[in-house]
């Protein structure tokens, strides 16, 4: 799956996150989170899993997270991905 344009998904509400995806030659993930210290590595791994599942090899992903749980992270990344590949 190739990223063709910039897209985003999510909100800034508590327990949610905003995911922004844009084209890039490599995978770059930037994470801002209110729970960055404890969970950055887990958020990153979850994003990488979704990207890999869709065969994405190049994307710049920026995340602003307010303590979202795994299923919310998956859903937001997946939605942003679909919007970015339309």
């Amino acid at each position: 799956m190739a990223i063709t344009r910039k897209a985003s998904a999510g909100t800034m509400q508590s327990s949610d996150l905003v995911v922004e995806i844009e084209p890039s030659p490599t995978i770059e993930i930037e994470i801002e989170s209110t729970v960055k210290k404890q969970f950055e590595h887990l958020i990153r791994r979850r994003i990488e899993t979704v990207l890999a599942r869709h065969g994405v090899t190049g994307a710049r992903v920026r995340v602003s997270d307010r303590g979202a749980l795994d299923y919310a992270i998956e859903a937001r990344v997946e939605t942003a991905l679909r919007r970015a590949t339309q």
Binding site: S8, M12, Q13, E32, S64, D65, R66
Partner: protein, 345 residues
């Protein structure tokens, strides 16, 4: 459940936003976007965006806390994204800083009456982009608007460069002056190219910008302006200076412009507490007084190219003779104010 914030488009809606903002003791300013939340036909929360600066946050007392701020930020960040803005700044009261920090805004600088926060990692990106310009040593900094770059600026830069290992010459990026940023940067680079220890770079949004110091461009010296100057000085001292081993900031003495004089005074207050020395360099003068950019602009306004050229280095004179310089002279002749912002230190 708080409803989502929506763009306020009609003048009636914007008047309501103005009233809510003013009821909170803030002054309303023009914005690209204004958003608000209505409850039973009444506006209960509002906020605005001017470029990459979010402001005018006003939430009626009964709706503070909870989801309201998040709703406003959702709407504003979506509009900002659509406008291609990846970095957003908030200028707010220090007591409000923690509310924004909960939305992943990072505190850049806090003064006694105002705080500046950023979303999107712009400062890290700016410092990383210029990491190749880092030099060890006891370095100094000069910040100029250079509108245009004069013999006075050159004198300040030469004096400063003789006192430090590397002198960083920051050119104000904000494009609100009659000489465009690219021209101001090019003039500063060309005019100082004979000085081997001078490194010229742009300030991005992190000094004397619409985010840190909008009053500079409005020539105000009131309490709000002072709060901005304090934030601007603190941001420089706490983040920019350490990245480039800057121990001294050098400014031109300011006998004429009240805004610049006030800014110099704030720098003198703020910098020492961060271990940075402020040095005031006397202005270069000719028979008519201190050489300033405003004198150059006044001469151009009178179509006195020769008089203007006597006050500037050859690099600037060459620009004044170019088509870009002619365009600036035309704008000045058509009534763009020559202003007083001249030799920013």
């Amino acid at each position: 459940m708080i409803p989502p914030a929506l763009p306020l488009l009609t003048s009636r809606e914007r008047d309501e936003a103005r009233r809510l903002v003013e009821a909170q003791g803030l002054s309303y300013e023009a914005c690209d976007d204004v958003v608000g939340i209505y409850e039973q036909g009444r506006l209960v929360a509002t906020a605005g965006r001017a470029g990459e600066v979010l402001k005018l946050f006003a939430i009626d007392e009964a709706h503070q806390g909870g989801q309201t701020l998040g709703r406003l930020l959702d709407a504003l960040t979506a509009l900002a994204r659509a406008d291609g803005r990846g970095v957003l700044l908030v200028f707010t009261r220090p007591g409000q800083a923690s509310s924004f920090a909960a939305y992943n805004f990072r505190l850049l600088a806090s003064g006694s009456e105002a705080a500046l926060l950023e979303h999107g990692g712009g400062l890290e990106a700016y410092l990383a982009r210029h990491a190749g310009l880092r030099r060890p040593g006891a370095n100094g900094a000069v910040v100029v608007n250079g509108n245009p770059f004069t013999l006075g600026h050159l004198h300040l830069v030469e004096t400063a460069a003789s006192r430090v290992s590397t002198l960083y010459l920051f050119v104000v990026r904000e494009d609100r002056s009659v000489f465009p940023f690219e021209a101001r940067l090019a003039m500063a680079k060309a005019a100082t190219s004979h000085l081997p220890n001078v490194v010229v770079l742009d300030t991005s949004r992190y000094a004397v910008s619409a985010a840190t110091f909008p009053s500079y461009f409005l020539r105000r010296t009131d309490r709000a302006a002072r709060a901005q100057m304090e934030v601007d000085a603190t941001l420089f001292a706490a983040h920019v200076a350490p990245a480039f081993s800057i121990e001294r900031r050098l400014v031109g003495e300011e006998p004429h412009c009240a805004t610049t004089a006030a800014y110099n005074a704030v720098l003198a207050d703020v910098l020492p507490s961060h271990g940075i020395t402020l040095e005031v360099v006397p202005r270069l003068a000719d028979a008519a007084g201190a050489i300033s950019a405003s004198r150059v602009r006044s001469a151009l306004q009178r179509a006195d190219l020769e008089g203007a050229s006597r006050l500037v280095p050859e690099a600037t004179a060459a620009f004044l003779r170019s088509s870009g310089g002619e365009a600036v002279a035309r704008r000045l002749a058509q009534g763009a104010e020559p202003g007083c912002e001249s030799q920013r230190g």
